[in-house]
Symmetry: C2
Subunit: 453 residues, 2 copies
Amino acid sequence: MPEPEKNAPTGPDPAPARGEEVSEEVTPEEQLRELIRLRAMCDVSRAVAGTLDLDRLLNLVVAKTTEVMEADRSSLFLIDWDTEELWSKVAQGVRYMEIRFPMDLGLAGAVATSGEVLNIPDAYEDERFNREVDKRTGYRTRSVLAVPMNDKAGERIGVMQVLNKRGDEEFTSEDEELLKSLAGQAAIAVENAQLYEEQKKSFISFVETLTTAMDARDPITAGHSKRVTDYSVALAEELGYSEKQLEILNAAALMHDIGKIGVPEVVLFKDGKLDDEEYKIIQSHARHTLNILEKINFDREKREIPKMAACHHERLDGEGYPLGLAGDEIPEAGRVLAIGDIFDAITSQRHYRDRMEFERVLRVLDEESKGHIEPEFVRAFKNLTVSRVVLIMEQDNVEPVEGEDLELFENITLLELQEPLEQEEPLTDEEDHLIERFNYYYHRSISDGWVPD
Amino acid sequence: MPEPEKNAPTGPDPAPARGEEVSEEVTPEEQLRELIRLRAMCDVSRAVAGTLDLDRLLNLVVAKTTEVMEADRSSLFLIDWDTEELWSKVAQGVRYMEIRFPMDLGLAGAVATSGEVLNIPDAYEDERFNREVDKRTGYRTRSVLAVPMNDKAGERIGVMQVLNKRGDEEFTSEDEELLKSLAGQAAIAVENAQLYEEQKKSFISFVETLTTAMDARDPITAGHSKRVTDYSVALAEELGYSEKQLEILNAAALMHDIGKIGVPEVVLFKDGKLDDEEYKIIQSHARHTLNILEKINFDREKREIPKMAACHHERLDGEGYPLGLAGDEIPEAGRVLAIGDIFDAITSQRHYRDRMEFERVLRVLDEESKGHIEPEFVRAFKNLTVSRVVLIMEQDNVEPVEGEDLELFENITLLELQEPLEQEEPLTDEEDHLIERFNYYYHRSISDGWVPD
């Protein structure tokens, strides 16, 4: 900036500039304090404006606030008015963990319920302070400053709290003003992120509800789209997909059979053998999926969804449909979906017969790996735990899987289940118990509590 | 702020505070200039962070920029890389008007293509300047400052431009820095708003595509949901609905028959007379619409959509379904939809017969006003122009409505069409011509270019 600005005063007693109200009696010291405050504000607002991802945003606000407020720790709690709880999400490695507690608990609770600012020099001398957290974590809270967060409509949406001003000091009234400003900025960003997430949730819940209703037209397909989605997402997690990639795969998976809306029910749900013509009509659903999804305005990162969803019947050898792609030409997500789709098809309960024996199911996957589905993905799929798979398989069953069995299944992968299932030698007691419990859930009758809707 | 901040220096030569880098050699004058710049930045960033509505955002940025930059006018143009155009939306009363031009036109175009900052003291001495706008508007451009806008990924997304620095001055290099900062803030807000709008568009285009595919299962219902939506939105505009209300009604209308997924096709599309049982099954679609939509996570302002959508077969006298509500108990949007739904049902082309005579259509609406549908809304519906209605009715016809006829229809309301249609006296030449042209489109054969999809 070589040239001094024409409107900028050069003397020690500044005059108003750029239409801003500058009090005539402002001293250089006050000016500097405002400068420091504004720098912090601009810094935070630039940072928080940059994301619509609520989890990342909450953690960013907390980190920036700790820094700017010269505090030791900060928290941001949002109010859930439905459950009357305060909640937050805290980074745990690459995932976020949710924390929840009653909205009248502790100092943050006092601010959430009263809407007043609390500036406490020593938390242990305030009876509202909840010492439990310190006890659990070994932390020693001293000074606390907590302010309410209000949305654009003036409704209280949360609390921002900073702990232990650095240098063993107390928070000043100037700190209060700064934290209130930060809370105002954070509230705007949080509101935007929530609107965006709600919009995303509406979309995905609409897709899920619609495909569930479509599947429910026939007992044979009831719950199919959701289960295929859950199996595919589980496999993709095993393959190391990122949150973003999982979100996209989830949407594509839910919509993989949407093209069935273009297949007449009389053919789609025909009870009995199909002739060649009928078989072709059924196969056309994958092409319909492509055509339908291509009409949707997906944003840039979701642009591959139509092809991902449509390619769940492609085969590695190029003999699949609707496009007849081979090997790597098939979108990876399509190859993931193919495994979820086949696995659900051969493990589904039919209204007229029991499920295919599970050892045969696993052998079918092995057989299909020779030219049809991706062998590497089948291996990854078999690394899923039995508990993960059983919970997806039985998600529409009103009878839950018992906790004890879940624990047992949690330590066993499908591959580890395959061995004793195929073994002809006598089994150990553990193996015997495992197979007995697995088969109990796998073969329990539909009438045990099947809810087709 | 009674207490001075502990870390704040009180002398004229300030030391660093709050971890910010403050150069040791900062003079009070430089401090003041930074203060002024930061105030402007904070002011703008607070304002622009507060909305995810792109139209409002663009206009807000422009207004704030004009003020902060002490300019006479400002513009913000976004780059459409698909069409290689610059575009913007300008407030026109309560609506927004879109402006578009080639992305290499004028000084803004030069910045869009090169990515460089332009600071021009006199636009008329620069050959890249496009004088056409001044010629058309009578404005006299002098100084121009234009800077590129980049998104988070560093991709160029637009140009911000300010005209005529106040006091007949030129823009300084300090102005350049300030506008670049503002453009950075604006770019973040624009990116957020675009993400949000894309998400909304994905949702609504999914609903539209799905319901279109559902309707297309039978030629009799092909295009029904979209036409009902367009008629209902046209009526709601006539009733003075806000943009927000129209958006919600639009979504509810598109989904009004979504419950038909719960009605077996063999009943839904039965060719011939229905027995009582079948009739009840068909009627159940409205209840299914309610049940399905209630499972969707709509955000607060869209929470009424399930009931709005489900109530399109309610009747003012309480004899309708699925809830049997009467009069004002029926959500207003449901009463609007009822009219769109009936109008489309009685004006639809059937694959086996011509449309119902239009004078009878209007008489049916009058008859239905006696206890079934809202008389006030029927009156408002008849205030729609013939052109609006014909364009909706013929939206799936590949043969367009001719421009000359559209112009004729633009000045005539349905009510004004009803009189000559019902009249037994001899008609004037104008009336005769109007009816002849209207009936041409109304009765032209399906085979003239009907695309059932």
